[in-house]
């Protein structure tokens, strides 16, 4: 059964006010287009969860979509601060819940596994544990020593960007895979955005590459360049210049609102956004091919 639909339809159908939303991807494959569409559709009171909020949650918070943020590293990767989120936190205008990367990812793994908690070895750094009551301790029944545990995180909806998927939602991902699989299995609803929609035959030629199977997927959207200014391995480069530029834009509320008006509210969809970026940016982000050696599954 095909689950193909437009990104606008998918967001409208599966992302609701007040939802706990996980836009997945560690630096790689961040579904910016989905964040922009959520902004355009004016969602409110979202709980935004991501290990690294990155620019996309800075933008969504600036647009007023967020009630709370759950994170483990609130920086502009390779640049510095996420200034919108930082201002909101320093002003007490946004709730937050904080983990280390491992704590955050362990919450997703527990959520994806259907477990009530998962353990981690102690780190001796207890300040965050004291600040966040969802960190707990459990006694190892074998040694009598303590481990740190976190509860499952099960987002209402996860958006997962992938290189290629078939129309049913079986998805191939390569390059940095971060927490894509765990977020998809943890979530109650899953939206796949894909650079390419391919035939089942392409997916089924390499089943070990499929991280997400169709039957946990609700919608499949064909969204080329979805990840810009993040990137899609093999398809286009990370726009490091824009990450630097955001550091300037996000200095002032007015520049941020001007950006939202021009680049989010001012365009109908990702196609228009990509066209607006222009030929020079397209050329700058272009990448030459470097193909994997195929493997032989055998015609059994």
């Amino acid at each position: 059964m095909s689950k193909l639909c437009s990104l606008a339809e998918a967001i409208s159908r599966y992302v609701h006010d007040g939802d706990l939303v996980y836009l997945a991807g560690f630096t790689h494959l961040i579904p910016f287009a989905a964040g922009h569409e959520i902004i355009r559709q004016g969602r409110k009171d979202l709980v935004l969860a991501r290990a690294t909020p990155d620019l996309i949650y800075d933008q969504m918070a600036a647009a007023g979509c967020a009630r709370k943020i759950i994170f483990s590293y609130m920086g502009n990767p390779g640049v510095g601060s996420l200034k919108v989120l930082r201002r909101l936190l320093e002003a007490g205008r946004l709730e937050w819940e904080e983990y280390s990367h491992f704590g955050m990812i362990t919450r997703l793994q527990a959520g994806a596994s259907g477990l009530p908690f998962l353990p981690m070895n102690p780190t001796a750094a207890t300040d965050l544990e004291q600040a966040n009551p969802l960190y707990r301790r459990v006694t190892d029944p074998y040694s009598g020593r303590e481990v740190i545990v976190v509860p499952p995180l099960q987002p209402d909806v996860a958006v997962i960007h992938v290189q290629r998927a078939d129309a049913r939602g079986n998805a191939h991902i390569w390059g940095i895979i971060g927490e894509q699989k765990e977020a998809a299995f943890a979530a109650r609803r899953v939206i796949i955005t894909a650079e390419e929609i391919v035939s089942e035959e392409v997916i089924r030629s390499d089943p070990n590459r499929t991280l997400i199977p169709e039957f946990i997927v609700d919608a499949v959207c064909h969204v080329p360049y979805c990840a810009h200014p993040s990137y899609t391995q093999g398809y286009y480069d990370r726009d490091n210049a824009f990450y630097l530029q955001w550091d300037e834009i996000s200095e002032t509320e007015s520049a941020v609102q001007a950006y939202l008006n021009e680049w989010i509210f001012g365009v109908p969809d990702r196609n228009a956004y990509w066209e607006k970026l222009g030929a020079e940016t397209h050329a700058r982000l272009h990448v030459a091919p470097r193909l994997s050696h195929p493997v032989n599954y055998g015609a059994y």
Binding site: G75, S81, E90, A124, I177
Partner: protein, 254 residues
Amino acid sequence: MTELWTASELMTINAARLLRDGDVVFVGVGLPNLACNLARRTHAPNLYMIYEAGVIGARPNRLPLSIGDPTLVSGAAAVCSMYDIFTLYLQRGNVDVGFLGGAQIDRYGNINATVIGEYTHPRVRLPGSGGSMEIAAWANRCYIITPHQKRRFPERVDFCTSAGFLSGKGERQAAGVRGSGPQAVVTNLGILEPDENGELILTALHPGATLADARENTGWPLRTAAELKETVPPSAEELRILREELDPQGIYLK
């Protein structure tokens, strides 16, 4: 201080020299990445670089500008999930060296990358732990590269994001974490190392730097090793590799 090299170059070169051939290193971008690549091109050709984004044995063709730069992936030996990198690699004890950084490093090597002021009412909200809470605990050895400034070296961190020796080596040992903690802090003035109680003391000065400089820029009464060494000046070859091969545009080494 002579101007034959920048402070960043000096710190990077001295950090590189701390690495041993065959070390498996959990690398961040910026100076730690440059230090590792310099070590690989000099005394540690078998240094093995892994990244918290899940990239193993990276061989970047260009200078990576973020922890998830695609050049780290193309041509790498392996890529795995974040859950795997923190469990199978770090928690399992497969990582020899971790690099750490933060806004504050205190007398016992504890690091604050979370908040200046009160946690619930932050004066300055910093990015937070990321991978560093677990790296500081479970990597066999940790190194810190940081400019030597009084505000960066308080007596006690406002918030302990990553454990050094807490209030002394005994307390870290009692906590039962597997790693041996911070082994050196490389600054633009010299090198600090933990004494037998885990207190950071000055063990070496860079050429031209003075003990007075170091004391003035440290927020606790800085003690020195019985024998205070002077670091070997950067060699022409080390500087050449950094400037010509690793960061020709001077993105990190300005």
